[in-house]
Homo-oligomer: 228 residues x 2
């Protein structure tokens, strides 16, 4: 986690960041939603039932709606969305390439665990930006209970099959590992985003953020019936 | 076109069909929208720009919204959507497998030409079903001008590159050929849908339908700057 070591979190004392950092944040989040859309759409084809396929397709469509909001906000700020997203294409595509699900259950775990972790991370970072941007990000990432079908299906399957539970637990941990690794690449290459996070080097804040992400991830894994 | 030879069209004299035919029609249309969704989502990745990618992704999301409407209508009629769609999975998947675009322009032509032809066909068939179903299908397939970006991009490209225009004209004609071939398979295997179309064998009506589909397709090809 080297590039994140200097993250500073002053609770209740949000830093109004320079525009480049906000553009970076909206850019990475925007591309995450856009490629989340087509990855979920592709993964929906792994569903054994049309109902499951439609559930995941619906999740994909929600990501696209989020993308549209972020794209509009970037334009409002006078930024070119394509330009804002460009630096994040490679690490996000690499994350997806390295975590391509090979079964419906892997796809469900990825949608729920990978998606949840990413959302938590963006929400944490959003604490350091201006109020309108923060509110926009919180709205975009508001949990709409779309993951309920994933919980239902994975839980039932691992209850009936211990070996599957063990394999999916490993898969869930691998997703987290790859996400952290790509997050490091993103931060290492982006000065504005880094500066937003390191402004005054409060290590307690960083520890708090990592602790929070870890805890929330463990809760999600447990909800699926998996070991984190 | 053998299986369609006995199609009967009595303009202004819609036959209220037996429920199995309506379930078939909603089923084939539903699966067409659901797989249209993920095919367009996949093809959106061929876009050279984020704006183009978002345009096609948006088109995909519209297909999914249509799918939801059809799914809801099937349930209303007491039908199991998965069961209603099952017979059409194979021919629709075969169509897409045989017409996988290998470039962004092929994807644009497919979205506009293939999508338009399918919509026209469903609208024609909808003339033979009960009023609420017909209205639902017309609402679902109402042209929302989503194809405008395809027209804009293809037109500009073929104006600048005659060889590309010739290749894409061939591609467009191939799409129509594959669509007709799969439509034959669909109709040959589905008695209720066939019976809906052949009820009293008005060959003038069939000729009219084919003529209409051909004419509308030629209009779309011309709008793209292609030869049909």
């Amino acid at each position: 986690m080297t590039p994140m070591l200097a993250v500073r979190a002053v609770a209740g004392n949000a830093i109004v960041a320079a525009t480049p950092a906000i553009v970076d944040l909206l850019g990475v989040l925007g591309y995450a939603q856009l490629c989340g859309f087509d990855r979920l759409a592709a993964d929906s084809r792994l569903a054994p039932t049309l109902a499951g396929r439609a559930d995941m397709a619906r999740m994909a469509a929600v990501e696209l709606a989020h993308y549209e909001t972020l794209d509009a906000r970037l334009r409002e700020l006078g930024a070119d969305p394509a330009h804002a997203m460009a630096p994040f294409v490679e690490p996000l595509e690499r994350y997806h390439a390295l975590t391509q699900p090979s079964s419906w259950f892997e796809a469900l775990v990825k949608a729920y665990i990978g998606g949840g972790l990413a959302d938590d991370f963006y929400l944490q970072v959003a604490r350091y930006v201006d109020e309108p941007t923060r509110q926009l990000i919180e709205t975009v990432l508001a949990d709409e209970g779309q993951g309920e079908f994933a919980i239902r299906e994975v839980q039932a399957a691992v209850e009936a099959d211990t070996a599957l539970g063990a394999r999916l637990s490993l898969w869930g941990r691998r997703l987290v590992g790859e996400a952290i690794s790509q997050a490091q690449h993103v931060l290492a290459g982006r000065d504005p985003l880094m500066r937003l996070l390191v402004e005054s080097g409060d290590l307690a804040g960083l520890a708090g953020m990592i602790g929070h992400l870890t805890e929330r991830n463990a809760e999600r894994m447990a909800r699926l019936g998996l070991k984190s």
